[in-house]
Amino acid sequence: MHKMKLNWKLIAGIVGAQLAFNALGANDLEVEQLKKQLQELDQKVRILEREREIDGEAAVAKAATAPKISLGASGFNLSSGDSNFVAQLHGLVQLDSRSFFNDGGLNGNDGFLLRRARPIFSGTVFRDFDFNFTPDFGNTTVQIQDAWVSYRYSPELQLQAGKFKSPVGLEHLQVDSVTSFNERSLVTDLVPNRDLGVQLKGDLFNGAASYAVGVFNGGTDYNGTTVNNSFQDDKGFAGRLFFQPWKNTDVNGLRGLGFGVGASYIANHPATASSTGLTPGYTTDGQQKFFTYTNGVNAAGAGWRISPQANYYYGPFGLLAEYVISDQQVASKTQSADLQNTAWEISGSWLLTGEDASYAGVTPRHVFDPRTGGWGAWQLVARVGELDVDSKAFIGGAFADPKKNANSATAWSVGLNWYLNKNIRANLSYSHTTFASYAGIPISAGSVPYQSEDVLFSRVQLAF
């Protein structure tokens, strides 16, 4: 019995052990399976995470090469991912008013006018080729102001061809939207306007010096209406060298100093059926003609100009000075002469709100937003200038009528500019111009220089 009991115990023990062993074996297997499943799941999660990471990297890489579109204070920009192709749309609209005082009954000079209305298309193709096309719908005639392409080999060497500003006058070369006054000074009467030609230009020594030299059709003294052709055999040369020696230094007081010289030369510019080869007239700040050559007087022989020029900007203060000699051989039916007209101007500006003045314009520290206390930038401007016509032009009325034209004009102007933001600007200025006649010969009533010119300007401008 005892033996049997022992056997039962042994059997029970063996069976129990077997069952326990089986149970344990089953658990191990399960654990192993679970471990494997866990590892597989872990790999799947890791793979999914990595795929997401790679997708993110691919999206970033794709974004870097995707075309970019931007719209802001600098206009509308569309560029390829690598920036080799860029298209930009800018614009300039200027609504002016002119009010003349004591003008002796001259009619038609007061009022509002759309001074400039220009859509500006510019950009780059194949990385190195820039272009610009700027028509102007302002004033009374539609004109193409700029139409050029430029190859940019390096900042030092650029080749530009088309219609653009002739590289002579400092004031004239300043962008139209950033000039101190509504109208440029008397000095710009003696430099060429936009012209058709080819020029080599560049910035040297990281902008410490710049040059431009080109061959052009050869423009007359400033003519507000530019043409798109000129079928004359003779061509003119124009060039400019400008230095800013301290531009890249730490010498604060001199960093904003620039000086240089512009010049032009043409051996001969014979008159054609459509042009006398001479200026259509010198104009005042109020854009009234105070000097024109007599009908039948033409350019006849060499003409040259030279223009020493300088500007200086230090903090809110700005100064621009320029002198021009314009020498031209002229001829009437009976006689000829070499006439040398001269002009100069000095203009200063002061930003009351403390922004930095610059040749490239003003960026307000606080844009106009009365709700947040922003009032934009305010700038005081002042200018004096003079233009002297060679007295030989009047001797015996040879080339100009001394009773209708001034021998010289002297002007001063003061103004207040309000930059609401980078795009909107408002100007208010007053200009006073006096005239001197040749040899004291009285000017006839009804002529512009009969009395001094006093004019109040205003402007609202949109530039982007």
Partner: protein, 330 residues
């Protein structure tokens, strides 16, 4: 006026010369970062001693095919040091930035060092991977970049293909079947070799990484020899990463001379030593003998002998609609 023009022209040209600052851009493939960090420092010293000038070399890295496309699209590389000749050929034919015979300008077909494809497995080799047959087995997860964008991936693909051809008496359909099986085991395709190393070593994905030999050694160095083992298969490919000056870019940057010397100096004793120290197989026999312990013996097949050159291999396997597109379904 003529004199006036001449003076301006002279001034402009003088300024261009004055403003010259010696900067080089080396556009390279993914795993060469460390090699060129070392080499650039050595070359800058060499150039300074030779000319007295400082040279500042920038590096750009990515999948070899992508890098070539970037140069074609305008990335102004002075030199390219890419994973395979086909990518530099593409720059020559599509962008015409260098002559078609660029490969003849330097010794060894302009390949100053060679490499091959090996396996990087997890420590202890838990899946017992010894040769190519082991990585096509079910349940083995293989990490390799996308051969469409990565030069290393194309070499790895061709190494596997060459093995399958040899194993199957050059039966092409059997080789395709082998490759198809291999890519079934690939869970994720990175765009370049460095990305795949990240996937395998840092993200812990996969059982084996098909890697450049130098990249595998670098992984051991960077992540610890206690984490991975290198397995050298019975057969692999002789990878010959080529180098070239990008003539038009260098000319525009006035760097033709320094760029040419930069590549020539790779063949110097110092250049070859640096390559060997970075686990690239040097061409110089003396240097190769000195560093023999760094490189396992393996039967290497050449691209020309086995696949008829890169142009043919590219067309057959990696072009749109090629074998890879046929066998790989993402």
């Amino acid at each position: 006026m003529k004199n006036f023009l001449n003076i301006f022209l002279l001034l402009a040209i003088a300024a261009t010369v004055q403003a010259k600052e010696i900067k080089l851009l080396n556009v390279s493939y993914d795993p060469t970062r460390e090699l060129y960090v070392d080499y650039n420092a050595a070359f800058a010293k060499h150039w300074k001693a030779k000319t007295g000038d400082d040279v500042n070399i920038s590096q750009s890295h990515g999948g070899s095919g992508k890098q070539a496309q970037s140069v074609i699209n305008g990335l102004e590389a002075d030199v390219v040091t890419l994973a395979l000749a086909y990518d530099i050929d593409a720059i020559a034919t599509q962008a015409r930035l260098l002559p078609a015979d660029w490969q003849k300008r330097l010794p060894n077909n302009s390949t100053p060092y060679t490499s091959t494809i090996v396996f990087l497995v997890r420590k202890g080799n838990p899946k017992n991977i010894k040769d190519w047959d082991d990585i096509v087995k079910k349940g083995v997860s293989v990490v390799v970049p996308n051969p469409k964008t990565s030069g290393g991936a194309r070499w790895a693909y061709l190494a596997a293909y060459a093995y399958a051809l040899e194993k199957n008496n050059h039966d092409d359909s059997a080789a395709r079947g082998f490759i198809k099986q291999l890519y079934k085991n690939v869970p994720v395709l990175d765009s370049g070799a460095r990305g795949s190393t990240v996937t395998f070593a840092q993200r812990g994905i996969g059982d084996v990484l098909l890697a450049w030999e130098n990249e595998a050694h670098l992984a051991l160095k960077e992540f610890g020899a206690d984490k991975f083992d290198i397995v050298t298969p019975s057969l692999s490919i002789l990878a010959e990463p080529p180098v070239s000056v990008v003539d038009k870019n260098a000319k525009r940057h006035h760097t033709t001379e320094v760029a040419g010397e930069y590549l020539k100096y790779l063949y110097s004793d110092e250049g070859q030593e640096i390559a060997a120290r970075n686990f690239y197989r040097p061409r110089n026999e003396a240097v190769a003998a000195k560093y023999a312990a760094n490189f396992n013996q393996v039967k290497l097949v050449g691209i020309d002998q086995e696949f008829g050159g890169w142009t043919k291999a590219q067309q057959t396997h990696f072009a749109d609609g090629g074998v890879f597109d046929q066998i790989f379904q993402p």
